[in-house]
Amino acid sequence: MTDFSSLPHLPDSLTDTAARSVQKTQTAKPGGLFSRPWFLRLLAIAIIIIVWQLVALTNIRVPNIAEVIRFLIIEISEGTHGGTFKGLFWSPIGNSFMRYAIGMAIGVPIGFALGILIGTSTYARGLLNDTTLVLLALPSVVWAFLSTLWFGLTSEGPILAVVLTAAPFVAVSVSAGVRNIDRSLIEMCASYRVPLLRRTQHLILGGTLPSAITGTRLAFMAGWNSLIIVEWFGATSGVGWRARTLYNFQDYPGFTTWILLFILLIMILDRFLLRPVERRAFRWNEPPMLTFAETDDDSNASTNNSGKRLRKRQD
């Protein structure tokens, strides 16, 4: 028998070696600044700002960056824009985020459960597949009008809109994930008589997780868009309502400020919450399905959660 106690265990050193070799290839890459993704990203932002300023110079209805920053400072400090028109910042953002969080907390689990049902049962697929696709295709503005009709200018309308927008996104990707689970792995479980609970937990959920997370990421974006539109038409607080108020006052710097804030908030959420979660779910080296803005690496190679590239070993 092999003396097992004396066997070397090297996983840490192996992965470190892999990481070192990644660093080496990265530093050896030619091309200078233009091959760096962070530089290209900054360049893109700079170009957008320059074009914006040029347009602002020629068009009186487009505010320039200085006006937007001035407006933003007054909003954040909740000072006055002149006369009785007060700045407002934290309450619209707080209200929107509360509705968004409640809506996502309801919508994502519903979507997940629906996705598992549609993916595993042909009956459920027959019953729910088309309904899910209809919900997916319905424009958010329809929810805005319906929820205003049903609930008036309350928080329930925007929350319902977030739920109904987010759930189908999650359901569609989860059901696709379930259906894509390799049949040969299901057979493997059957031949080893792996108990149903463990099979569900590790094969079905484990195999579905990456597509579920990609779907959730999409649902977060769609839910946020939907929320803002519903608040625009049918709320008396929130980011969408604030943007609409400023639009009605024809306050171009104010309107632009809130549109930018709206984009910035979802980008921060995506970058610091959703993308790290997605990266962790994909750490076993399958490239994520959403490829936009997903790694700081300019190649398509995947990285694991600690940023180390998984490297193949040979016999």
């Binding site: 040969s184 031949s191 399958e286 998984l310």
Partner: protein, 253 residues
């Protein structure tokens, strides 16, 4: 002691869109395997070998006939080495091993690492399958089958997807680990080399799912492919296949 008793086993696949006629995979097969032996089922592609193994594993149901796998009077515990590794890509190697174990304990991981080390993979427990080469993944597949401590071990052409050199090195690992554990084993293969190198008994099958020969292999282990006795036996088996084919072709068999 483990026993596999197969009586009058038939399997007929109904017509499908790709295959307009029904296909008889097994045609009344009888086979009995007892004790700590490694039995190879040898035959050309499409002769029903894998179907036989799937029925013994319980993954497929027979059309008629019976299969009984018992160990000391109770249903035997079976494990399966597949043609492809069939590892969950999102679980590490060691977690793939623990996944199929019927009980969980603190010893699970140590046991898994022990069997990994038996196939020369003591240092990859925490890597993901995608980080391993095809041959290494197949070694995990073999180690996994031994980890569950089966009464009966089924192997479905486990080396057929590998290049010749990797296949040979994996056969050495299998010989080593099997010699130490001596599980009742059924190996399906179309490779005569592989059968004579690994088996204590070779069951030869022909298309239609019928056994036409049953050859004992009484050669000492470990066996090396260059051993002249092995080559002699190999030639003998090939001759038997040729005469079987001729008999089938001219309607004698």
């Amino acid at each position: 002691m483990a026993t596999v008793l197969i009586e009058n086993l038939t399997k007929v696949f109904p017509p499908t869109a790709n295959q307009p006629n029904q296909v008889q995979a097994l045609g009344g097969l009888n086979l009995s395997i007892t004790g700590n032996v490694l039995v190879a089922v040898l035959g050309p592609s499409g002769c029903g070998k894998t179907t036989l193994l799937n029925i013994v594993a319980g993954v497929e149901q027979p059309t008629s006939g019976s299969v009984r796998s018992v160990q000391d009077g109770v249903p035997a515990h079976i494990s399966y080495v597949f043609q492809e590794p069939r590892l969950l890509p999102w679980r590490t190697v060691v977690n793939n091993m623990i996944f199929v174990q019927d009980r969980k304990s603190d010893r699970s991981r140590r046991e898994a690492e022990f069997y990994l080390s038996m196939v020369g993979l003591g240092d990859v427990a925490d890597l993901y399958p995608s980080q391993l080469s095809g041959g290494m993944q197949q070694r995990v597949n073999i180690a996994r089958a031994f980890l569950v401590n089966p009464d009966i071990l089924l192997m479905d052409e486990p080396f057929s997807h590998l290049d010749a050199l990797t296949g040979r090195s994996l056969r050495d690992y299998l010989q080593k680990i099997w010699s130490q554990t001596r599980k009742t084993a059924l190996l399906v293969t179309h490779d005569v080399n592989e059968a004579v190198e690994l088996a204590d008994r070779i069951i030869m099958m022909r298309p239609g799912g019928v056994i036409f020969d049953d050859i004992p292999v009484n050669l000492p282990r470990p066996r090396h492919p260059s051993n002249p006795d092995l080559q002699f036996l190999q030639n003998d088996i090939l001759r038997r296949f040729d005469s079987m084919e001729a008999a089938v072709r001219f309607g004698v068999g």
